[in-house]
């Protein structure tokens, strides 16, 4: 099996982002048809439901269902927001969509605005990719000049504005209500839910937030039909999905494949294991997803249900591949530091717990672990889970539980021998600077 590209099809570095190029790829056909034929919003939602498009940002929530939650009778302003605050370690797909195919996102957001009766939309773009933000702004200018945005779009009575908002470095803003706070010009501290954004979102108005890849999928679905999209994947897991493959492979990068593609084939597309080394472990859905052993992964298909059944999650589709040179204690120490650094500090279990986890991981990695630490790690992780306003707490706890479940022996070895099972020279060899050669 090879890649099956929709969103990433026929893209190049310089021209594919331009409106004229997108139009040649049948871009804005779906929007034009909707506006010309005044297609009923309920029909659009029905198509998304048939397609079984699930949120590509991490939670996998059905998009059609989410759109149906927006109050129809509400007469004030409603908003649509795109979450391009891509900061989950291992994830780098939205950056490529935005820099090579921004008009697919714009078209998807305009269609969302039409379907849910929104007056305006905002695309919240990750802070570290300023150049991509600038390109997205340029794409918006093109869309405005072509009458695809603004008042009376394509001569219809539908009006919709769309703007880009640039983040400035806070992982927690990838959480949708933290993102809304940030859009309002505040610290990005997540809100307690309920109320959900569909009733109380941006500026307190009904708002729907979807991931970049989700919006980009919408025009393709409407052009090919819900059934066709669904059949590209497998039941309950419709369509194609972009996987960001990083770590110890020969060709790290983004690969768009049909949901349900075996992991072994995805690994092959990414050039296989670097230096022919043995696959040790895989984090299948971004750093928050529990790690799985290499042997188990080689048996799995890449879709929401198969990965969930194996005890992890597909998340954002970020596949972090680790070979036999990887020290699992050190890997978890680095991830624990990340969550400690990025906790917004609002909820005590997360604020204190992430620091506690990191300090324990640090001493384990440095040969100062104590016999009781493994149980304590489990205990702290368990007591963060489900006790915080947003999912960052869970995101910090799940890797700890996953690593301990599959690699407990390696952690115990660190405590007992005050050093790693994997020789330090081998670790160094495995984490040398490596860039793909094409």
């Amino acid at each position: 099996m090879s890649e099956h590209k929709l969103i990433l099809a026929d893209l190049d570095g310089d021209r594919s982002w331009r409106l004229a190029d997108y139009a040649q790829r049948r871009g804005y056909e779906a929007l034009k048809k909707i506006v010309a034929e005044k297609i009923a919003p309920d029909d659009i939602i029905a198509t998304l439901k048939t397609a079984n498009l699930r949120g590509r940002g991490g939670a996998g929530f059905p998009t059609g269902l989410k759109w149906s939650f927006m109050p129809k009778a509400y007469t004030g302003p409603k908003y649509v927001v795109c979450n391009s605050d891509e900061g989950e370690p291992g994830t780098f797909k939205d950056r490529d969509i935005l820099r090579y195919n921004p008009h697919a996102v714009i078209e998807g957001m305009i269609i969302a605005g039409y379907t849910m009766g929104c007056v305006a939309g905002y695309n919240y773009i990750h802070g570290e990719i300023f150049e991509v933000y600038e390109r997205f702004e340029a794409a918006l200018d093109e869309a405005r000049a072509a009458g695809l945005l603004g008042r009376n779009i394509l001569g219809s009575d539908f009006s919709f504005e769309l703007f880009a908002h640039h983040g400035y470095g806070a992982y927690v803003c990838g959480e949708e209500t933290g993102l809304l706070e940030s859009l309002e010009g505040k610290k990005g501290q997540p809100r307690f839910k309920p109320p959900f954004p569909a009733s109380f979102g941006l500026y307190g108005k009904p708002t729907t937030i979807n991931n970049t890849e989700t919006f980009a999928s919408v025009p393709f679905i409407l052009r090919m039909g819900g059934e066709t999209f669904l059949n590209l994947g497998k039941p309950n897991n419709g369509g194609t999905k972009i996987f960001s493959v990083s770590g110890h492979v020969n060709r790290p990068g983004n690969y768009e494949v049909q949901l349900g593609t075996p992991f072994a084939e995805l690994l092959e597309m990414a050039g296989g294991m670097r230096g022919g080394r043995r696959l040790k472990a895989v984090i299948p859905g971004g750093s928050s997803a529990p790690v799985l052993s290499g042997e188990l992964m080689m048996e799995l298909t890449m879709d929401y249900d198969a990965i969930a059944k194996a005890g992890s999650m597909l998340g954002s589709g970020a596949v972090i591949v680790m070979d036999e040179t990887t020290c699992m204690v050190k890997a978890l120490e680095r991830l624990s530091y990340f969550y400690f650094e990025e906790s917004c500090g609002q909820c005590t279990p997360c604020r204190e717990g992430t620091g506690w986890l990191y300090r324990m991981m640090r001493r384990l990695e440095h040969g100062e672990g104590r016999a009781e630490d493994l149980d304590l790690l489990d205990n702290v992780a368990e007591n963060i889970m489900g006790r915080t306003i947003c999912a960052l707490g869970d995101a910090a706890a799940m890797p700890v539980r996953g690593f301990l479940k599959h690699y407990r022996d390696e952690f115990a070895y660190h405590i007992e021998h005050k050093r790693c099972l994997v020789p330090v020279e081998l670790q160094r060899e495995g984490s040398r600077i490596y860039v793909r050669q094409d």
Binding site: F130, I433, R436
Partner: protein, 158 residues
Amino acid sequence: MLSPQSLLLIDREVAKYPADQKQSAVMAALRIAQAEKRWLAPETIEFVAKYLGMPTMAAYEVASFYNMYDLQPVGAHKITVCTNLPCALSGGSEAAEYLKTKLGIDFNETTPDGRFTLKEGECMGACGDAPVLLHNNHKMCCRMTREEIDGLIEELSK
């Protein structure tokens, strides 16, 4: 306090939001102010807050919450290196160590000539292009081998 060019840029950001929601532009305004002043001094934050008609403390909360704002002086070239796990597996940490040795400074330090500041960064969303560096927040440098790093530092030293 800020140049007319910066104010023009800020006004363009303000126009993106509803008229009664000028505060939404504070992140962009602080970014623009920092690009002009290199770092955000208390009086710069106060100026931005007044310009947007919001309490100074609210603007300070934003400036201190997001990692990319600098509330202390930094060198002419701030280099941020991602050392998170996916990058580290492809040499992110080695690149960081190489930079430390080459510049003779640790993370959060500035070279004595005030030219370079080194920072450790969190995920920049470009893991497939590791090692990744960010130059002055806005320019991403990808697939940074030792040779590429040498070239970058040489160019910035001119």
